[in-house]
Amino acid sequence: MPAVRSREISSAEFYKLRGEVKTVRPLAEGIFDALTSALTTPLTPQESSLEQDKKGGDDTPAEITVKAESYRVALEDFNQLYLDNRWGDGLPLIPPTPDAVKWMLSGTSRNPYEVLGTINPKHGIATIEKIAINAVMAGAKPEYLPVIIAAMEALADETFDDLHFLASAGSFNLLVVVSGPIAEEIGMEAGIGFMGHGWRANNTIGRAIRLATLNIGQTWPGINDMALTGRISPHTFITFSENTELSPWQPYHASRGFKADDSCVTVSPTHGESQLNHFYGGMIGTWTALGVLDRMVEDIVRTDRRGLFMWGTKGIGKYPGSGGGALNHLIVLFPELAAEFKKMGYDQPKLQDEIYQRTTIPYDEMNHAERKAIQTAMELGVIPADRKAVFQAALNPGAKVPVLISPENLHLFVAGGVPGCAFSFNYYRVPPYNQTSLITRLITGATLTKAGTTGVKSVPYGA
């Protein structure tokens, strides 16, 4: 955009000095004249011209033909070309030939040209066809495609903050959880090793979503994906399914208003610097349900209390509390543990309430700064109107103050085998750059499975 005047401070200078007003002062003083001059110097004819801004869009061809002396060489050339174009993830890709993409699209009844929305940071348009191309490249099978589409629909939702986890220096990651009968039908592994390698459905669904975000949103490390350390599980995000067979509870999505026999995908970013909080279980040592619950509570209190001061700030973006005003906890329970909780009388809502109550802090033990942060959070709207009365009542001697906005900020999934382990991820309840940090989406349009067929209609590819 040549019409926009830019004046730059080097990142080496800015990042070192930005921490305090007094340290950043010399930088502001040094660039002050240049900035005020940029605001007041008349536009040049070139700056005023519209012609220079008419370029844009994407001029790369819709299809490419690689010619070689053998298939081996053609495959190698294709892989190198895609990586050179920043269309790959560093692992070998399956060539997305028109025939392979048509085969992939046989897994959905949805129109290949249907637009789901756009993906950040470049607002690339996510169509069913583009998702299918990336799914082929990832090595997925057509029966996985409806799951991949549902995840991409969630990421492309106009309220969802996909920009932060895809681009932030904090090396954030993405959790993708499939729940409902389609998971077992397409062969997702939910038992021992469920987050690991060797499971084509888990691994290639995650890889297809990773490639689709990379290619549709057009991100690249160090260019506009600024994750400083990269991500753990960088080629597949963190993708698994609930263990419906062994879970004593209804699937997670039932707690989000879907029917228990629906099939859904839930997506949420996770923090980069605290990937996984371990609560033990299984073979690691002897365990009791109450012991695991205690560790969960300790972890949440420690983590969330440390962040309480952020509740009293306006947040990073334009939404109150964005990027710091309280957390979502994404807790994965192993089936035996969930069964123990069930014996103790807990279903998911009751366990959410129990954890919420146990993580409250006595008002009398809070320091002045913590109390003030909660008070300010009510005034700024960081604590939403429908939870204000709870916090108003809690800010009194003898009362207990929640460190979570609501029990609904505890998301309980059941996954893993026997034995298993309990652990959690967390992320901002309100993300930095949009309204929503967690979406559960119904899987629709499946043609090769019994589950996920809602909304089936026949739309041929290439018609």
Binding site: A3, V4, F14, Y15, R18, G19, V21, V24, L27, A28, F32, T36, L39, T40, T41, P42, S48, L50, D53, K54, G56, G57, D58, T60, P61, A62, E63, I64, T65, V66, K67, E69, A74, D77, W87, P95, T97, T118, I119, P121, K122, G124, I125, K130, N134, M137, L163, A169, A212, N215, I216, Q218, K314, G315, I316, G317, K318, S322, P432, Y433
Partner: protein, 97 residues
């Protein structure tokens, strides 16, 4: 030289990016005295610190200037632009953690 007998036709995985309408920039203000200056950022503490100093310097040099602090994502939405444009005469956009 061996004949290139294998052809592999593959599809482009990239999402198309819609070219945005181009707008001619507004004429610049002649000076900042008495003007309303918007300071936009993605709201990170480092930018807040920078703008604190910048605002102080602006008001020192142009005592009649007024400043409106604006925050949002990396991109200014059309809605925000419509809301803010009547409230400011010129603005600085900056992002930084």
């Amino acid at each position: 030289m061996r004949k290139k007998s294998v052809e592999l036709t593959v599809l482009n995985p990239r999402g198309m990016v819609e070219a945005k309408s181009a707008f001619a920039p507004n004429p610049r203000v002649k000076d900042l005295a008495g003007k309303r200056v918007g300071l936009y950022s993605n709201g990170k503490p480092g930018m807040d610190n920078f703008y604190t100093v910048f605002e102080e310097l602006l008001k020192k040099k142009y005592p009649t200037v007024t400043v409106k602090v604006l925050t949002g994502s990396f991109e200014i939405t059309d809605k925000d632009a419509k809301d803010w444009s009547p409230q400011i005469d010129t603005f600085v956009y900056a992002v930084g953690d």
